[in-house]
Symmetry: C2
Subunit: 119 residues, 2 copies
């Protein structure tokens, strides 16, 4: 069973003002959805006080989320897609958009069962 890939990006050294408020952060997430040609189903965002944003876009292909910690200049993004996507341009896009210094990427193949388990 191969359902798709779950990508996880930890973005370090972000410019604090860029990850502090909902308008910029939600726009970033929608930009990524557009870049990767994904399809929105529903979304939700929350502005934390005084700074910090959490948000989620539910996709036809699964989901993308972002959570930011401006005090740590840190943003956590994950994307799970059951459609094959090319994420090769995303790291450069995130570094530039958030004026960040460093990204750690992880990916996990979803749906892979090592063996068949009898019930």
């Amino acid at each position: 069973l191969n359902i798709g890939y779950h990508y996880i990006w930890d973005v370090h050294g972000c410019e604090e003002s860029k990850i502090s408020y909902e308008a910029f952060v939600s726009n970033l997430l929608y930009e990524i959805v557009g870049l990767l040609e994904l399809s929105e189903v529903k979304s939700a965002f929350k502005q934390f006080q005084p700074k910090g944003v959490t948000g989620f876009i539910l996709l036809e292909e699964s989901h993308i989320s972002i959570h930011t910690w401006p005090e740590h200049k840190f943003a956590a993004i994950d994307l799970f897609s059951c459609k094959p996507i090319d994420t090769s341009s995303l790291e450069a896009y995130l570094l530039q958009s958030l004026n960040a210094t460093h990204i750690t990427e992880s990916s996990i193949k979803r749906g892979k069962a090592p063996v068949s388990y009898p019930k």
Copy 2:
């Protein structure tokens, strides 16, 4: 920097009827949020036709999501929490609730930068 853990569960061999419709699936996600003493911010779910559900609950502590593929008896769940949580009982809970045969768990520590990168 230690932001928290991102847990990923692939649940195989689910009883098809349990992962087909929104009512049961959304209730399951809320049960998990209750069990782990997490706090809801907002949520969204979508019923696919004829079967299959996708949904998430945005949390004060980050998020939890579920996506189901009844035709594969498969459910994909992920939970990102910036608060330490004890997930030890969750595997048994999921196996029982979904009448599933097998779970694969992965966890990723978020926010861990290997080295400091100068800008």
